[in-house]
Structures are given as structure tokens and as C-alpha cells.
Symmetry: D2
Subunit: 96 residues, 4 copies
């Protein structure tokens, strides 16, 4: 994964951390449950977008880029078939 991708992903995670802190504050302030639920749903969407972004980067650098040197050291010794099986498992964890 190149530096630009990593910076963008890190910015996303920091935003999510801020949103989670927001939920904690809403609970402390005894805010209305439905408002807190909406905030939880927003964090969930942000996490999903992060997952999609990260998975796309993984496909690009580790699965398609396999053998080009762009792949992560964990992906290097795997076959493309093994990489696909791994992606399938990861997708299954999101969509279960």
C-alpha cells in the first residue's frame, strides 16, 4: 500500500475514533436513545466504507500486484488462489 493510501485510510480511522468518542459523550449526557442510535449507524457506515477502501487497496497491491513487489510480505509467499480464498473469508466476515 502506498503512502497516499495509508494517509487517507488513517484519516478515515481518526474520524471514526472521533465519532466513537461522540457516542461515549452522548451516553454520559443521557441523550435521547434514538439520537445515539443514529450516531451508531453513522459509525457503522464509516467503518464499512473503510473496509471497502482497504479491501480494494488489498486487491490492487497484494492480489493483482502479486509478484510485482507491491504486495505485503504476508501475501508474497501465497498463491493467487490462496489470496482469493483469503479475500472470500474476509468478505464473509463482513457479510455474515
Amino acid at each position: 500500500m502506498n503512502s497516499e493510501s495509508q494517509k487517507r485510510l488513517t484519516a478515515r480511522v481518526k474520524r471514526i475514533a472521533g465519532q466513537v468518542t461522540g457516542i461515549e459523550r452522548m451516553l454520559a449526557e443521557r441523550r435521547y436513545c434514538v439520537d445515539i442510535l443514529n450516531q451508531i449507524a453513522a459509525v457503522r457506515s464509516a467503518l464499512d466504507a473503510l473496509g471497502v477502501e482497504l479491501l480494494t487497496r488489498h486487491l490492487e497491491t497484494c492480489v493483482l500486484g502479486h509478484g510485482s513487489g507491491s504486495e505485503h510480505e504476508s501475501a508474497a509467499p501465497m498463491s493467487q488462489e490462496q489470496l482469493l480464498a483469503e479475500v472470500k473469508t474476509a468478505l464473509g466476515r463482513f457479510l455474515k
Copy 2:
């Protein structure tokens, strides 16, 4: 919502905040994408469990408990029909 519920929900949110910090650290350490994806999926499950817990508390104290004094001040002026419509909207945000 009583104090015990609030304490349990707050503990859940704190755990989620810790998990999000973990994702940030994994990105910084350039950990393998698939490992980060698994962590994202874990946070998503934890958020969903938090949402289910909070919604159940809301149903108990604000929808069923409507008129008993246990409801939140935002729920008090609403009719049960309006409260149900609101729950439906909140559910739709999670399951969209």
C-alpha cells in the same frame, strides 16, 4: 435508562474506542490488510451489539414504559404510534 444499563453501554463504547485505536495502530505499523479487515469486522459486530442493546433499552424505557415516567424527556410528548414510527426509521438506518 437506569444507571446499570448506562454503565454497561458505556463500557461497551469504551471497548469499541480501544478497538478503533487498535486499527489506527495496525495501519501505522503497516500490518497485513486482511488482519486489519478482520479487526474492522470485529468493531462492526461490536457496534451492532451496542445498537441492539441500546434499542432494546429504548423499547423498554421509552416505548413500553411510555407514560410511566421511565421514558426520556424527548419521548414523553410523543404518542406510542410516533415512537414506533421513530423506531422503524432507526432500524431502517441500520438495515439499509
Copy 3:
């Protein structure tokens, strides 16, 4: 659940059945995977909307309406606490 709700829910399920048949046909015609994926995502949204609708009806007739005679015979012998625990479990199945 009154007749009008049941009719509306049945109409939704029939539409979903038609969409699933559409997916079967797309596979037989060897249509482009991404087009089929979009159709699968559409059925998933329709199922979620059906679930939200049904759950809202359940809250209305069986949980809130408990003791009024509007509840289903399976809900009648349960306490409201048991009904809430059951709703929580059902929600957890959707949001897992």
C-alpha cells in the same frame, strides 16, 4: 397483525420472489457478474425493508398490544420482559 398489514407484507414477499427468479435467469443467461451482484444487493435491501416492517408490526400488535387481544397466540403467554428479550435476539440475528 391486521389484514391490511398482512396484504402489504405478502405483496413485498411476492416482489422479492420475482427478484430472486430474476437472479436465476441472469445466471442462466450468463449475464455480467457485477450486474448480478447489484441485483443481489437489491434483494437484500428489499428483505431488510420487509424485516423492519414485520418487526414494527410485531412491536405494535404483540409487544405494545400485549394483553389487548391483538397479540399473536404465541406471544399471549409471554411476559413483556420475555417479549423484549425475544426481540433483542431477533435483532441480533439481523445485525450480526
Copy 4:
């Protein structure tokens, strides 16, 4: 996509069609809402598994297999970058 994959995917869709018919019957028989909700959650899981299977086949034959002749005619004129962008959009539809 080879014939074996197509057969397996078609079998999955037929099973899902059967499950949807089951939901229709449960509504007609006025079965308990929570039982119907559980069946809807089961269909949703089956749809997700179908989506994961189909997406993995797509990655194999159209994205990784791009240029090998295994790809679908819709994928042939696209660049791998365009194919990845398309996968990202499709994933986003599932995880929204």
C-alpha cells in the same frame, strides 16, 4: 465463469427461491412474527453467501483472469483499474 461454478451458484439461488416461498407461506398461515423474522434473517445470510461466492468468481475470472480469455465480454474492454473501481462500487452497495 466455468460451468461448475454456474451450477453451484444456480443451486444456491434455487434454494433461496424456496426459502422465499417459505416466507410467503408463513405469512399466509399467520405464523408468529418472530419465526418469520428468523426465516428472513436466514435468507439474508444465504444471499450474502451467494454474493461473496459470485464476487470471488468475478475476481478470479474477470479481474485476475483479465486478458486470459476467461473474463466476461463486459469485462474484456475494461482496464484492471476500471474493474477494481467497479468491484469497489459493488462492495459499497452491499456494505452500505
